[in-house]
């Protein structure tokens, strides 16, 4: 989707800008690709019982993956501080233009979109590019250690938080548990926001959590905003920005199979008015990647990192290419394996309801420790251990030491989402 309002103003670290959530649309792909994905998904489900292989990730080529140093240089993790600044600017612009009139802005985004990390680094006053709101500092509100509250206790907890000055909740999913005593904090927050008892604030919320609370609070109309979806063009611009830092230098990435260009983008080349560039052939890789990742930057980056290779599988193919030019045969910064030759992690065969409860619980709560997962899913610790170990081997979940939580992996997210959808679980809108 091209959002004309944000197109020209978008920060390179947030190429899609911020858009109202109802304007979000899925990046388009070819009919061929859609059919191929659908048939592939159905076949994988049917074959799951036949094939017990739990190979988490299969790369159907023998090319060496990038070293960690090369990966850091060519496809590094984004700097979330820059994203925070971009988000802050986007919200401020929306307020100025009048499209955002609420005191409390809700930013709803799918997992791995980076919003949570960005909001956690929300710019302090005095920082470059930061926003000040009435000269007040932005306070980041962290969740309590234990989430069991009754209504009275929840009321008291929020009373202790200073919501009179601008505040930020990086991830609302951290403030509740799907159990009877785990709902009170979020209910009370929504009540206060609806009553206008809070000052200016920003609430970041995982799209899965938002879906749940949208059902629970049927009449809550919070008009959330979301980062614009990453289509091929935005992905290209973002990857270039990540690799080059400033986005000024050009990164060359070409397909291993046919030598077609992935980066730089065709538009960039045209701008440079390079005569040779007009003869270049460009790959549809980024368009397919945008569709596969559903415009989710974190997922796209994970797949992008996996698809990069240090050298082509067959240099002679390039030599024989019809459209060979001097420019084309130059050494690329990196080579890209076609999506068809990469297989994303597959769902291991197991009791689908238990697996579904676990994965859905993890997405609803932005990751959980074992004890909370047991409470939320109603699955015993013993069975949880077995399921999680299988999912971990399949590279669909990962244990994060930093906050001691199980989380869905970005590379496994498309598979997880698709399976949850086909199992009948409620999925997010993104």
């Amino acid at each position: 989707m091209k959002d004309k309002n944000n197109e020209n103003k978008a920060d390179p670290c947030l190429p899609g800008g911020l858009v109202p959530a109802e304007q979000w649309t899925l990046p388009q792909t070819s009919v061929r690709r859609s059919l191929k994905d659908a048939i592939g998904h159905a076949l994988k489900q049917l074959q799951a019982e036949v094939s017990q292989a739990e190979e988490p990730f299969e790369s159907m080529d023998e090319l060496p993956e990038l070293s960690s140093a090369q990966r850091k240089r060519l496809a590094p993790e984004p700097d979330y501080s820059d994203q925070a600044t971009a988000i802050a600017c986007g919200l401020e612009r929306a307020r100025t233009e009048g499209s955002l009139s609420r005191e409390v802005a809700f930013l709803v985004a799918p997992p791995f979109s980076g919003v949570q990390q960005a909001l956690a680094r929300f710019p302090e006053p005095g920082q470059s590019g930061s926003i000040e709101s009435g000269g007040e500092e932005w306070a980041i509100i962290s969740p309590p250690d234990a989430l069991s509250f009754d209504d009275h206790e929840a009321n008291e907890w929020w009373d202790r938080q200073d919501l009179s000055r601008p505040w930020v909740i990086p991830e609302l999913a951290d403030f509740w548990l799907r159990r009877l005593s785990g709902l009170a904090l979020v209910k009370e927050l929504f009540r206060r926001i609806a009553n206008g008892d809070t000052g200016v604030g920003i609430v970041g919320c995982s799209s899965w959590c938002w879906r749940y609370w949208g059902h629970y609070l049927e009449n809550a109309q919070m008009s959330p905003w979301t980062p614009g979806p990453m289509d091929a063009e935005r992905l290209g611009a973002w990857f270039t920005y990540l690799a080059s830092g400033s986005g000024k230098s050009t990164v060359i990435a070409r397909m291993t199979g046919d030598g077609y260009y992935v980066l730089p983008l065709a538009e960039t080349d045209e701008n440079e008015k390079d005569k040779d560039s007009k003869k270049r052939k460009y790959s549809n890789f980024l368009r397919d990647l945008a569709a596969t990742s559903r415009g989710n930057p974190g997922v796209a980056l994970a797949i992008w990192q996996r698809s990069l290779r240090a050298r082509p599988d067959d240099d002679t193919k390039l030599e024989d290419a019809d459209e060979k030019t001097e420019k084309q045969s130059q050494t690329a910064d990196c080579w890209v394996v076609p999506l068809e030759r990469l297989s994303l992690p597959t769902m291991p065969q197991s009791k689908e309801s238990v697996t579904g409860f676990v994965l859905h619980g993890l997405l609803l709560h932005n990751g959980l420790d074992m004890a909370s997962l047991e409470v939320v899913t109603g699955v015993s610790t013993y069975e949880l251990s077995l399921v999680l170990s299988r999912l971990k081997r399949a590279e669909l979940v990962v244990w994060e030491q930093s906050d001691e939580r199980w989380r869905v992996t970005p590379i496994g997210y498309p598979t997880v989402r698709r399976h949850l959808q086909s199992w009948g679980f409620p999925v997010d809108q993104f």
Binding site: L46, Y216, F357, G424
Partner: protein, 267 residues
């Protein structure tokens, strides 16, 4: 009489080779039908969710198509498809069925109507004459349901004419479940309704995008609450109701709301 109907003339042209061909076609059609009835349900079990229901529902439809295709192929092989011959054959067939297999024919016709009207499909949870279960297969004469106690009940299609058929999910995967709570009076009704709603919303099996309702009735012995919600999978309905009942009861007890402790007649 056979001469009067023209049956003799109609079958006069049947040769041994034609008979063999017809038998071959019928055997092949039967094999395809058996394959469809065996393979598709297995594939459906692996898919789960809506694809499962669609695939199961397609089985009787495919069978009907195969039967029709077989008739269309076999009849011209056996007899010259003239108007007189057709009248003769189908007239004789109707006569024979009418006298000898009245009930059987009744069920067969009801079976065809079932395929068209679809009062129940494989995967539906239905109740007929007090028997509740999931439709496992729809045959030519009867449907098979499997009760929650894993008992197969054969229901002739002619029940369609004169019995009430209750269908819980009607071709979808949305099946409402109800958990009943019989409580003593003198408690905060709105608080209990809110609490029971939360019980449903916090169950991992609940379809949260479907309505969750708490209905309350004032009875002479106290208050009767009905918690209505939809589970992800209709097959989990009994586990779902058990879970709602257990968690709801535990929380109500924690809140000091008492259940009625005397025998009551529930109509």
């Amino acid at each position: 009489m056979i001469d009067d109907l023209g049956i003799k003339d109609a079958f006069a042209s049947i040769t041994g080779q034609a008979l063999l061909q017809a038998v071959l076609v019928i055997v092949i059609a039967s094999l395809i039908m058996v394959a469809v009835q065996k393979v598709l349900p297995r594939v459906a079990e692996k898919l789960g969710g809506k694809p499962r229901l669609y695939l199961l529902a397609s089985v009787p439809l495919l069978r009907l198509l195969i039967i029709l295709a077989t008739i269309v192929i076999v009849v011209p092989i056996l007899v010259k498809p003239s108007f007189e011959n057709m009248v003769a054959i189908f007239g004789a067939l109707a006569l024979a069925l009418g006298f000898a297999f009245k009930d059987y024919a009744n069920s067969l016709i009801a079976g065809i109507v079932t395929l068209y009207e679809m009062p129940y499909r494989p995967g539906d949870w239905i109740e007929v004459d007090g028997q509740y279960g999931e439709v496992r297969a729809i045959g030519t004469r009867a449907a098979e349901i499997v009760t929650p106690d894993d008992t197969v009940v054969i229901i002739p299609h002619n029940k369609l004419w004169n019995s009430l058929i209750a269908n819980g999910n009607d071709g979808t995967d949305n099946l409402m479940c109800v958990a009943d709570f019989h409580l003593e009076a003198n408690h905060d009704v709105s608080r209990v309704r809110e609490l029971l709603r939360d019980v449903a919303f916090t169950s991992p099996r609940t379809k949260t995008w479907r309505p969750v309702l708490v209905i309350v009735f004032n009875k002479p012995w106290g208050m009767h609450y009905r918690l209505k919600a939809y589970p992800f999978d209709p097959k989990d309905q009994f586990q779902f109701i058990s879970e709602l009942t257990a968690r709801g009861s535990a929380e109500l007890a924690r809140q000091g709301v008492k259940f009625v402790s005397v025998p009551v007649a529930v109509d």
